[in-house]
C-alpha cells in the first residue's frame, strides 16, 4: 500500500516505562552460553538495560494511567476525544478489548469509539494510518493512539536471542486534523514469512496447556516453550537489510527527497547492530538516526517510534518543526515508512511508573 494523507498531525506524545530495570550483566548467567561470548554482544547489540513490568501489569494499566494523566494535566479534554485506538500484541483478555477497558476507566461517553489492532513492530505506523482515516469522519474530534506491550511476560528468561532485547513500555499520541503538510505512507506485508516471529501457543490454534509450557533446548542453547516468543533472528535480519533500504530509497525518489531533506530518522528499534547496518546501507547520518532504545529501555515493539522520539528528541519536538522519516519493520512480516513533519508539540513527556 502506498498512499498519502493530508492535514493530519501529532500534537502530543506521552511515553511510559515501568520502573523495574533488568540489567544484562545480571542476566548473563541465566543463559547456557559462555559468559565471555555473551558479554561480547553487549556492545555490538546494545544490550545493557531493559524495562520489565510486574507480572500482574497489563497494557490497559499503562494506558489508563497515561490517559488520566493527560486529562488531569490539561493535555486534552474528554469532549475532544472521538476515538481510542489501541495497538498491542498483549491484550488484557480476548474480550473485552483494551480500548473498552480504557473507555470505562477514563469515563468516556458512548460517542467515543474504541478499536484494538493486533500489530507488533509496525504498530505505530499502522496506528497512525488508522487514526488518520478515522479523523476523516470525526469533524474536529481527536484520536488517542495507544501503543503498548508487555512482551517480557512472554519471553523465556533463558532465551538469549530474545530476552535481553525485549522491553515493556507504552506510548500515547494525540492525533488530530490540521497542519498543511502532506504525509507520504507505505506499508508492505509478506505473510509467507510470518513464522519468523511467532508466539506459537496461546491462541485458538494451539491453546496454552501444561504441554505448551514445557521448556526445551531449541538446539542452539536457548531454552523456551511454545508459550514464549520465538524469533528467527537471521531471517528477520536479512529481511530488514533487503526490504527496508529498497523501500526507503524508492520512497525518497518518488517524493523527490534525499537523506539531507530529513531532520530525523525515527525507526523501530530492534537492536543496535541491525540499525547500524541499515543506516550504513541507506547512508543515514548517525546524529539524525537515534538507535539507543534497546540499550536504554529494550525494544518495546509498537511503542518504539514514539519512545525513541520522546527520549532522544524531546526539545526539538517541542520547539521546532522536524521533517521526519519514520520506518518500522518486523512481525508479519511487515515493513513500512512515513514521511511527515512532527514538531511544535503541545506536550511531550516520559513517565516512569510503578507498574
Amino acid at each position: 500500500m502506498i498512499t498519502r494523507f493530508k492535514s493530519k498531525r501529532i500534537t502530543s506524545m506521552l511515553g511510559m516505562l515501568p520502573q523495574m530495570i533488568g540489567y544484562f550483566d545480571d542476566e548473563v548467567d541465566n543463559y547456557s552460553f559462555p559468559p565471555k561470548q555473551t558479554m561480547r554482544l553487549k556492545r555490538i547489540m546494545g544490550y545493557d538495560q531493559h524495562r520489565l513490568s510486574k507480572d500482574s501489569t497489563t497494557v490497559s494499566d499503562f494506558a489508563v494511567h497515561g490517559l488520566l494523566y493527560m486529562l488531569e494535566n490539561g493535555w486534552i479534554e474528554r469532549k475532544e476525544i472521538g476515538a481510542v485506538v489501541t495497538v498491542s500484541l498483549c491484550p488484557d483478555y480476548f474480550v473485552p478489548h483494551i480500548s473498552n477497558i480504557v473507555h470505562d476507566k477514563c469515563n468516556f461517553d458512548s460517542d467515543v469509539i474504541c478499536m484494538d489492532i493486533a500489530q507488533g513492530c509496525c504498530g505505530y505506523l499502522v496506528g497512525l494510518m488508522q487514526s488518520f482515516m478515522l479523523l476523516e469522519h470525526m469533524q474536529d474530534k481527536k484520536v488517542v493512539l495507544i501503543n503498548g506491550d508487555v512482551l517480557s511476560h512472554k519471553v523465556s528468561k533463558k532465551d538469549r536471542n530474545d530476552f535481553p532485547l525485549i522491553g515493556d513500555a507504552c506510548a500515547i499520541s494525540i492525533i488530530e486534523s490540521g497542519g498543511d503538510g502532506d504525509i507520504y505512507y507505505e506499508m508492505h506485508i509478506d505473510g509467507k514469512r510470518r513464522d519468523a516471529l511467532k508466539i506459537p501457543a496461546g491462541g485458538f490454534r494451539m491453546p496454552c496447556s501444561p504441554d505448551t509450557s514445557v521448556m526445551t533446548d531449541q538446539g542452539d542453547g536457548n531454552y523456551r516453550s511454545l508459550d514464549n516468543i520465538c524469533m528467527d533472528g537471521s531471517s528477520v535480519f536479512n529481511f530488514v537489510q533487503v526490504e527496508v533500504p529498497l523501500m526507503l530509497e524508492r520512497a525518497m525518489i518518488k517524493e523527490g527527497k534525499t537523506v539531507d531533506d530529513f531532520d530525523l530518522f525515527l525507526f523501530h528499534q530492534p537492536n543496535r547492530f541491525m540499525l547500524k547496518k541499515l543506516a550504513e546501507k541507506v547512508g543515514l547520518p548517525e546524529e539524525k538516526t537515534p538507535m539507543n532504545l534497546v540499550e536504554r529501555y529494550g525494544n518495546p515493539s509498537g511503542a518504539s517510534i514514539p519512545l525513541v522520539a520522546i527520549s532522544n528528541c524531546r526539545e526539538s519536538l517541542l520547539e521546532t518543526d522536524n521533517s521526519c522519516c519514520l520506518s518500522a519493520f518486523g512481525s508479519g512480516l511487515a515493513w513500512g515508512t512515513m514521511f511527515m513533519n512532527i514538531g511544535r508539540l503541545d506536550h511531550c513527556e516520559l513517565l516512569e511508573l510503578d507498574l
Partner: protein, 78 residues
C-alpha cells in the same frame, strides 16, 4: 590474514576445532550471534564495513569465505 581470522574464531568459540570443519555454520560452530560478533571483529581489525546484505551464513562458512568477505568489504589482503 588466514592466521588472524583463525585466531578470531578461536577467541570467539574456544571450545571448537575450526581447522577440522568444512562448514562452520552447518557444523554448528558459529550461530547467528557469533556471526554478528565476528562481523564486528572483522570490521574493527581490517577497518572495513560489511554490507548488511553480505551477512549471510555462506560468507562465514570457512576461512576462504571469510577472506573473500573481507576483500569484498574493502579489506586489504596480502
Amino acid at each position: 590474514m588466514r592466521e588472524e581470522i583463525m585466531a578470531m574464531l578461536t577467541e570467539l568459540r574456544p571450545e571448537f576445532d575450526f581447522a577440522n570443519s568444512d562448514d562452520f555454520v552447518a557444523d554448528g560452530l558459529l550461530d547467528s550471534f557469533d556471526i554478528i560478533s565476528l562481523s564486528s571483529m572483522l570490521e574493527e581489525a581490517y577497518s572495513i564495513m560489511i554490507d548488511g546484505l553480505d551477512i549471510l551464513p555462506e560468507n562465514y562458512s570457512s576461512i576462504d569465505a571469510l577472506i573473500a568477505l573481507v576483500r569484498k568489504s574493502g579489506g586489504k589482503t596480502e
